[in-house]
Symmetry: C2
Subunit: 376 residues, 2 copies
């Protein structure tokens, strides 16, 4: 199966509504490839916080309103921050009966009149065991960063480099939340503490945005990107139930299956998008994906391995940190970037070798993981 069209909006603090954002991404995806909207057999909609932040659930029917009288199956998936990679996984699965399926992910996080985004995002954690004890997400990831730094003896400077690299990449991405913003190491170092050791520049932003993709059973054009494998795994929701905070079993389980099905190993990857909701999760992802040994991701960063001109470029769009994190759209924005790079259409941020790419998208504190491997 193939990705035959991609589209997205700019990410950032946007004045469009949830549905307008979804429409824009869907429109762009349709116009990107040869598949017409009337050829779409089903749609998967990914969204995390439409209920709590926008007072809008039943988004599959809201999308149906954009397509009068089509009456096709439209299904909404919610698996926290992994919603859109899981929606993509389900869309791929649906090709057992359909020819062309659309996936659209959307989130409108700013300007909610219902509640603040931090409390809403906390709904991805265990309400009783985590949230009611103060474990909003920056606090949970601060505990993880503390554990990781203690276990492997690294300092906060490694996290600062992750942040710096992502911002450097987003400056080459006109659609990023932080595009063309000069961010210096000095600004990163001096940014205020959110939950020690995590400071402001360790956190991805609250973004609005949408992204979409068309998935087809058959190849349609020479710009199509083949999907080699897609796998989803889960783990317990509360960090109180984890034996180890420095690695996520859901990522490791999903990627093992994904490598096996694709018939590749980590050395074959030319581009990787990882879920850096906080800088610490980028380090953990590099290790969980098998790109280096546990505790050695700091070397990859130090050696320049993950830079755009490095051995294995990571988050060339700026990642969640700087491209932005409109939650329901994030996993599809990763797909957008991998497809753009594999096609050789990434402009100023184009990588040199671009045959095989991987996207890793997680929900909560690694409670859900979605892995997609693609070939150009």
């Amino acid at each position: 199966m193939y990705i035959t069209g991609i589209g997205r909006t700019k990410f950032g603090v946007l004045s469009k509504s949830l549905i307008e954002l979804a429409y824009e991404a869907m429109y762009n995806a349709i116009n990107d490839g040869p598949i017409d909207i009337t050829d779409i057999d089903a749609i998967y909609v990914s969204n995390f916080l439409g209920g709590p932040l926008n007072g809008q659930l039943h988004l599959n029917s809201a999308i149906a309103s954009l397509l009068p009288d089509m009456n096709i199956p439209i299904i909404r998936i919610e698996t926290a921050c992994a919603s859109s990679s899981v929606a993509l996984n389900q869309a791929i699965q649906s090709l057992s009966q359909f020819s062309n399926v659309m996936v659209v992910g959307v989130e409108k996080m700013t300007d909610s009149k219902y509640m603040n985004p931090t409390d809403a995002i906390a709904m991805a954690a265990d309400n009783i065991l985590d949230y009611q004890n103060g474990l909003i997400f920056p606090a949970s990831y601060a505990l993880i960063a503390q554990q990781y730094m203690l276990k492997y003896g690294i300092g906060h400077d490694v996290l600062e480099q992750v942040s710096y690299l992502n911002h450097k990449n987003s400056n080459l991405n006109p659609l990023a939340h932080f595009s063309y913003k000069d961010v210096s190491m000095e600004m990163i170092r001096q940014s205020p503490i959110v939950a020690s050791p995590i400071n402001l520049f360790d956190c991805s932003p609250i973004s609005d945005g949408a992204a979409a993709a068309i998935i087809s059973k058959d190849r349609c054009s020479d710009r199509d990107i083949e999907i080699l494998s897609s796998h989803v795994s889960t783990d317990s929701i509360s960090i109180s139930q984890r034996k180890d905070l420095t690695s996520f079993n859901a990522t490791k389980t999903a990627v093992k299956k994904a490598y096996a099905e694709a018939g590749i190993n980590p050395d074959d990857l030319d581009i990787v998008e990882v879920h850096d909701c906080f800088t610490i999760s980028e380090l953990i992802a590099l290790e969980d994906l098998g790109l280096c040994e546990p505790g050695r991701s700091c070397d990859m960063i130090e050696n320049g391995d993950i830079s755009i001109d490095g051995r294995i470029p990571v988050n060339t769009d700026g990642g969640l940190k700087a491209n932005g994190h409109p939650i329901g759209a994030t996993g599809l924005a990763q797909i957008f970037e991998v497809v753009t790079q594999l096609r050789g259409e990434a402009g100023k941020r184009q990588i040199s070798d671009h045959e095989v790419g991987l996207a890793q998208n997680i929900g909560g504190i690694g409670g859900t993981a979605g892995i997609t491997i693609m070939r150009g």
Copy 2:
């Protein structure tokens, strides 16, 4: 493919939490059939209001917490009140790659500390076009009832009979929200108006509860029920976008495909479960499913056709009206009833002929419809 296990909780105002309810239904479904929990390849979780009412999203990971180290794909589906028939549809689709899949639907609607259920349920309608203009669900269905009564010249007495029949059936169902409650025509007639012409006994209750099913590729025991077809269709979310309020295109589109795939017609059905969130929607459902001509469902009720001992028994468990409507579980409770009847295990409410059954589950004001046809 086959339904090889079913389980549910009692419906009603319950003191268990969202996760405890889900666990109980899952436990009962596993114990009902020959499939062990370790044989389950994936789980689909259906829930509508976990975010707004319980502060709990990412329910797929919360379910993973009940199954330590299984790390299987668990996916949450939300399509308003049709969530669980759509989750079932996706589970069936997943049998293209899996052998045994669980579907669990759950809702904890009472005792929310976050918001009132009526405002939360309104998130299934268009926030801008419907809710902000006062169209909470009883108001929308009141407009529909007005249109229907005007178009076909029927009085409120037909709706009263629908309510009476459902309560009569729920008295034979020990798991119903209203079990063993004597409800007289007098009580129904004299109940307070909610939104004219809809009175209290035209409305399904606010219920807590869960239901689950195991779906297997291969037949496992002689209690298995075959799934002949499952289809999902959508329509616009706002009633302001509909040309006709007295019929739902999503139901008609889905059931047409479902009959064709199953190779049956309405006359072949021995039992039907319809989505009577309000009594008027039971009348519309009977017509949209082709059980009678448009406007003639009143005859079916008058003639006793839909009674337990009638020509085509409908909502033998009491329907949403009297069995209850814990939204994310409702579609699976319908499946529970059809399977129980087709197996011949329905006790005091057992129908005589029980070969083929259908369940119709809708979301919002018919914005989503899920149809499942089964054979014993």
